[in-house]
């Protein structure tokens, strides 16, 4: 069980593909201008990651290491095509908004990195867990970035969620600042900036946790050393 806890913690926090490995930055920076875009791309990436990790793990003993990378890319491309067709079927408008970045999931280094770095060496169940957790970690960063950029870029949250979730979500839009626009955050340079701030925030949290841990260790009484007594006390 501890392995799954470890995989969860790695994927979501300590080895997060976006914040620590800094992989897949191209879609991360390009499409996170709103929550709905981020959620769409996050879900597609999550799906592809689980699928590719499971498949790669299944064939890991049958593919020679010389041709493993082309094989992995073919598998990933197949899953990306599935995701693409699914989006065309159920979220066609969002598919149009995300445009080239859906096919480009094939080139997302985070997916190939997990396939080659983890799934190719581990059995199916841990590989699937790793894919799920890494995908969730990536999607979580996408969502936070999308929320920050949408909120401070155009003053709304959850605008246009009906593109992904259907008519239920038609009136989900929260307008926090009306008549507000900060174009810098909507454009890709703002994504760089916001990502940098997120990484800095993660490092601060890690530093604080580390310092607290050290303090706790310092507080605990050390095992008292026995004083060596020579002679006799009278």
């Amino acid at each position: 069980m501890s392995q799954f806890n470890e995989l969860t913690r790695n994927g979501l926090w300590s080895n997060n593909p976006a914040l620590v490995q800094l992989l897949g930055l191209c879609p991360l920076l390009a499409v996170t201008s709103t929550v709905v875009n981020a959620l769409g791309l996050g879900l597609a990436t999550l799906l592809v990651m689980i699928g590719s990790n499971v498949s790669v793990s299944l064939i890991r003993n049958h593919v020679s290491s010389n041709v493993r990378l082309p094989a992995f890319v073919m598998i990933i491309a197949a899953f990306v095509t599935c995701a693409e067709l699914l989006m065309q079927a159920y979220a066609f408008k969002l598919y149009h908004i995300l445009g080239i970045f859906i096919p480009l999931i094939v080139t997302n280094c985070a997916i190939l990195g997990r396939a080659d770095g983890f799934a190719a060496r581990n059995p199916v169940l841990p590989a699937a867990t790793d894919g799920l957790m890494m995908g969730l970690g990536f999607a979580a960063v996408l969502l936070v970035l999308g929320a920050v950029r949408e909120l401070f870029g155009q003053g709304t949250l959850f605008a246009g969620m009906e593109l992904l979730l259907g008519p239920v979500a038609a009136d989900w839009q929260l307008t926090l600042f009306s008549d507000y626009s900060f174009l810098f955050l909507v454009l890709p340079p703002g994504a760089f900036f916001a990502t940098g701030l997120l990484i800095a925030a993660k490092n601060v949290i890690d530093d604080r946790a580390e310092r607290r841990r050290q303090l706790r260790q310092a507080d605990q009484p050390k095992e008292s050393r026995r004083v060596r007594v020579t002679g006799t006390i009278r």
Binding site: F182, L183, F184, L187, P189, F193
Partner: protein
């Protein structure tokens, strides 16, 4: 016979960053005075408010970074960034515009990279570029030259109201800059016809030309005090002049005159005050020539084919990117040493192998 032996250099006192920056501040005075004279009190408020913000934000971020306040604040560099940004913003800009710009300049472009001396980009121009792409409406409303005391001039109180955002700029107050108007003259209109229609509010061209000459006077102070060397301004303005002359010679009906390109925008201000930032510019003399010429070429290219009417900020930032590259290839030879071996050497590979 003098018994005192002296040998060069005859520097009498060490120059500190603070005094260099103070001279830069002094040299901006003619330009700011000219801008204020033509465009009203708003310029003065811009400069003072932005400079105050610069010092305040620098103090704040130094506290956050747990750095000593006094030493850094006395180097006057935040003041200079504030004055330069304030002078480049449209007069009667609201306070939040300057706050956003100065946060980008001081907090992000300067202190997040490690403070003065560590910033790869010119702080004031980072602030300006961010504002220009984020708030195109506010940033392109340049004031009409109504003067300080004319009949239509905006009084001190009204100018303060604009700074505080109480009063909105009216259409009568704002107009296009000469470069902006000329850029949008349309394909069918010839340049001579365009100027014949009096496209600008009266006195605009005169105001811009005088201001450019005032910046030139300030630049002369910097050159005289040897705070900047001639290489960068000369190569920058030279590149602008050469390219503008070529384009004007090829088709005078659709291009501005070389003088218009030189004096009609921010070319002189940029050449003496923006490009010469000692931190983010190239280091060696040869490097400075390349750096300045690059900025000049980019200014003309962006003015001609880009989306924005003037281009000093973008050109300077783009060449800031190129500075490590320029410095790498223009490192001077140390006396007594061979020229450094730079770049990838391509060796001729002999393909004609004789297998007989």
């Amino acid at each position: 016979m003098s018994l005192m032996h002296t040998s060069p250099p005859h520097t009498r006192a060490a120059t500190s960053t603070g005094s260099v920056m103070a001279w830069v501040l002094l040299a901006t005075l003619p330009g700011i005075a000219s801008l204020t004279w033509f465009f009203g009190w708003g310029v003065l408020f811009n400069v003072l408010f932005a400079a105050g913000l610069g010092v305040g934000l620098e103090a704040l971020i130094l506290r956050l970074r747990a750095r000593p306040l006094g030493v850094t604040l006395r180097d006057n560099s935040a003041l200079v960034s504030g004055v330069l940004l304030g002078a480049s913003l449209p007069p009667f800009a609201p306070w939040w515009l300057m706050l956003v710009g100065m946060v980008a300049a001081i907090v992000v472009a300067k202190q997040l990279f490690g403070g003065l001396g560590q910033n790869p980009f010119n702080p004031a121009m980072v602030g300006y570029a961010l504002l220009l792409i984020s708030f195109p409406v506010e940033m392109t409303q340049w004031a009409v030259p109504q003067g300080l005391f004319g009949a239509d001039a905006i009084g001190l109180g009204d100018a303060l109201g604009h700074l505080l955002g109480i009063a909105e700029p009216t259409d009568a107050m704002t107009g296009a800059t000469p470069l902006d108007a000329f850029k949008h003259k349309g394909e069918t209109l010839l340049a001579s016809e365009f100027w014949a229609t009096d496209p600008l509010p009266p006195g605009t061209l005169n105001a811009w030309h005088t201001t450019a000459l005032a910046w030139l006077a300030g630049g002369a102070i910097l050159l005289f005090k040897r705070i900047i060397s001639w290489h960068m301004p000369v190569s920058l303005l030279g590149a602008v002049l050469v390219l503008a002359t070529l384009m004007y010679a090829s088709d005078p009906s659709h291009h501005g005159t070389p003088l218009f390109h030189l004096l009609g925008g921010a070319a002189i201000f940029g050449a003496f005050f923006i490009a010469t930032d000692p931190v983010s510019a190239a280091t060696s003399r040869k490097g400075k020539l390349y750096y300045g010429a690059g900025i000049g070429v980019l200014v003309i290219l962006i003015r001609q084919w880009g989306a924005y009417p003037d281009a000093v900020a973008f050109a300077v930032l783009l060449m800031n990117f190129a500075v490590p590259f320029i410095d790498y290839y223009t490192q001077p030879r140390t006396y007594g040493h061979a020229r450094p071996n730079r770049g990838i050497k391509v060796y001729q590979i002999d393909d004609d192998e004789d297998d007989t």
